[in-house]
């Protein structure tokens, strides 16, 4: 029988069986009086959980909180300020569409575009190469944000442009690494996390081994799950069975995509062009060695160095609590701005801006408890 991937992981009967196993494990925890908090590391998990109504299937002693897992969400305002400064110099920006709405210190790239700045939405980093090749007299900057998943394809723009003799393209880097952020969250005394629901596609690059430092006797269960409903339920089932059994292992429930050792080829591309650097995460602050920047030999492609516009520390509206949402300290509706002055049409914080942001996912799909 051939597998139809579009339906294969959405079977109602299998979902009901998994939901029942999840309830059994939760009941075992309940007899010990335990309520547990699971952190969704990746931004696509809250979106998929909301879209498929999975929160509705979970027992009351299991809470899900959304972690730092959307690259757009954690882009600091200073980065947007620099992008706007580049556009104001007449430089053409190429960017994934979500970035257009991320607030900088004063404005968004949408505002900048309305005032005449050139910012073009792309679906692929290769669009930036095409734009640069088609318009040799314009300087083009690609806004290179992303976790390990997107880093290799984005940074491979650099050798491609070099090989093609395209000299008017550079990238403004804000690449982020997931494991250092998980370490920062586990070490934060204000946050209690009982388990990590680990990202699907990031794990395909870094491999399950990358979570070993967060599991074990002093760690928590780390379970890698895909984004289809059954993937997520299987991941949650794995976490709850570990918690009920007093275990804390790394478990890969997404083995059809995530392989032991991850993707060494992608990591080699990253290694060849990038080196670790400290990085600012919106809401989490500066985390040591949690970012990647271009190596010196590729500095001609580094927009900050090429155009002399370093990314500085911006400032965030102090009433916005996206930082606490990203840290899992509060749920989106606990923020006083949620749904009042901050909604997807008028996003103040980045968690509302990106469709994968925890607040946007909650706003779009998760309002059932607040009619």
């Amino acid at each position: 029988m051939t597998m139809r991937y579009i339906d294969g992981f959405r079977s109602s009967a299998a979902a009901a069986a998994l939901a029942s196993r999840i309830r059994d494990s939760a009941a075992r925890l309940q007899t010990d009086g335990r309520a547990v908090t699971l952190l969704e590391v990746c931004g696509t998990h809250p979106l998929a959980i909301a879209r498929h109504g999975i929160r509705d299937l979970l027992p009351p002693n299991v809470s899900l909180v959304s972690g730092p897992g959307c690259p757009v969400c954690v882009t600091p305002p200073g980065y947007i300020d620099t992008a706007i400064a580049l556009a104001e110099r007449g430089i053409t920006l190429a960017t994934f569409g979500d970035m257009l709405h991320v607030p900088g210190s004063e404005a968004t790239l949408c505002d900048c575009r309305a005032e005449g700045g050139r910012a073009e939405a792309c679906y692929s980093p290769l669009d930036a190469l095409r734009i640069a090749a088609e318009r040799p007299r314009e300087e083009v900057v690609f806004l290179a944000v992303g976790f390990e998943t997107t880093t290799a394809p984005v940074v491979s723009l650099v050798p491609r442009a070099h090989a093609a003799g395209v000299e008017n393209l550079s990238i403004l880097t804000a690449f982020k690494l997931v494991p250092p952020a998980l370490r920062a969250l586990l070490d934060d005394p204000e946050i209690r996390i009982d388990a990590f629901l680990c990202p699907a596609h990031v794990s395909a690059i870094i491999g399950p081994e990358a979570y070993a430092p967060f599991s074990g006797p002093n760690g928590v269960p780390c379970v890698i799950a895909g984004f289809e409903p059954l993937d997520i339920l299987l991941g949650l089932d794995g976490i709850l069975r570990q918690l009920a059994g007093g275990q804390s292992r790394v478990e890969n429930q997404y083995s059809r995509v995530v392989r032991p050792g991850g993707n060494p080829k992608a990591r080699a591309v990253m290694d060849a062009h990038l080196r670790p650097t400290d990085a600012e995460w919106r809401g989490l602050g500066v985390i040591p060695h949690s970012g990647l920047t271009l190596r010196d030999e590729w500095s001609a492609f580094d927009a900050e160095r090429r155009h002399g516009v370093p990314v500085l520390r911006g400032h965030i509206d102090e009433t916005c609590r996206c930082g606490d949402v990203i840290k899992g300290k509060i749920r989106p509706p606990d923020c006083p701005l949620f749904g009042t002055v901050c909604d997807p049409d008028h996003a103040l914080g980045p968690c509302m801006v990106s469709a994968e942001g925890a607040c946007a996912a909650h706003f779009k799909y998760g309002l059932l408890e607040t009619p």
Binding site: R4, I6, D7, R10, S11, S12, A15, A16, A19, A50, R51, H52, G53, I54, R55, D56, L57, H101, C122, Y123, S124, D127, R130, P229, L230, L233, D343, P344, D345, A355, E356, F363, K364, Y365, G366, L367, L368, P371
Partner: protein, 339 residues
């Protein structure tokens, strides 16, 4: 009069009101549309007035690319306005056609589009009664923009208003959803998906006419264009102070539509159809409405997708995973320029 060469392009002078304008109208417009009220190119069309009420609507079309799998801006511009008249309970009769052409548009593209306007208008039983052609400098529009206005006669019996919907009513759709929006997105060069879905762009007036014997049981109808099913149902619940409950397993979403929507990170409930009807009717009429629709080729995929419920004014959906989710309005420029 000089016939235009096939390889020619539209020039600014074709819209200047002089000889080239006259040639363009004479060679491209009159042969296709000049038999009715356009004969002799009067400044305005004279139309017979009937007793009863008229249904009147207008729409602008800026789709990019101009041609996409399953249609082009020409038939889309006819279907868009005709369908708005139809789902308002009207029988479409007359159409206006205003073209804004960018300098440099290949003549063969214009001909393809005008041929589609002509055949779509004939299939809908409407006559192009008046029109206008303008040409703007390169860069001032994107190939071709079209505005159509449709005028129709209200069919007796239909009283369509969101406020008519009440708990217990059934929610039906006439066929697969989100196919137009996904087809246009796939046709864009920077997406690079080949063999994606075909647009469902088509007239719905026969689907509406087929319901005429059940008109008293029809509460509300809409064509789920921009913003998709989610958008029209949210407008319904806001206006009617009811809720709508959908079942994900019953939604007619083809594997192709779901695959493309997943790849692009879109919710297919937010994606436009251009040849479908969403119907809310009394429960006792639902089976007959489905039978009547399924008897027509354009209604072959008709199905029931949910029901109107009392309670909070929101659209919810039982998911295939067994949970419950909110179906919210789409936000922002989800899919720019798909119609």
């Amino acid at each position: 009069m000089k016939a235009l060469e096939v390889e020619s392009r539209i020039l600014l002078a074709h819209g200047g009101g002089g000889r080239l304008t006259r040639d363009l109208i004479a060679t491209e417009i009159v042969p296709r549309f000049g038999d009715g009220p356009l004969r002799g190119l009067p400044d305005a069309a004279c139309l017979p007035v009937e007793a009863g009420e008229m249904v009147f609507t207008t729409d602008g079309f800026v789709v990019q690319p101009l041609c996409f799998p399953g249609g082009n801006i020409g038939d889309l511009a006819v279907h868009g306005s005709v369908n708005d008249v139809a789902v308002s309970g009207g029988c479409p009769l007359w159409l206006s056609l205003a073209l804004i052409i960018e300098e440099g548009l290949p003549l063969h593209t214009l001909r393809t589009v005008l041929n589609s306007v002509k055949s779509a208008a004939e299939a809908c039983g409407v006559t192009v009664a008046t029109g206008d052609t303008k040409v703007v400098e390169r860069g001032q529009c994107d190939g071709l923009f079209i505005t159509t206005t449709a005028l129709g006669r209200r069919l007796p019996g239909f009283r369509i208003a969101a406020a008519n919907a009440r708990a217990g009513d059934r929610v039906l759709v006439s066929g697969g959803l989100a196919e137009h929006g996904m087809a246009v997105m796939c046709a864009r060069k920077n997406i690079g998906i080949e063999q994606g879905p075909l647009s469902d762009s088509a007239p719905v007036h026969r689907l509406v006419a087929a319901l005429a014997p059940l008109a008293q049981s029809v509460a509300w109808m809409r064509d789920p264009t921009r913003g998709g099913l989610a958008s029209v149902l949210n407008e319904l619940v806001d206006a009617a102070s009811v809720g709508v409950s959908l079942r994900e397993a019953d939604l007619p979403l083809s594997a192709g539509v779901r695959a493309v929507a997943d790849m692009l990170g879109l919710d297919p409930l937010h994606v436009a159809s251009e040849g479908r009807v969403v119907l809310v009717c009394r429960p006792e009429a639902a089976d007959e409405a489905l039978q009547r629709w399924r008897a027509l080729p354009e209604g072959a995929g008709a199905c029931e997708i949910g029901r109107v419920v009392a309670g909070p004014t929101r659209v919810t959906m039982e998911t295939t995973a067994g949970g419950l989710r909110l179906v919210d309005m789409p936000r922002g420029e989800l899919l720019p320029r798909i119609c």
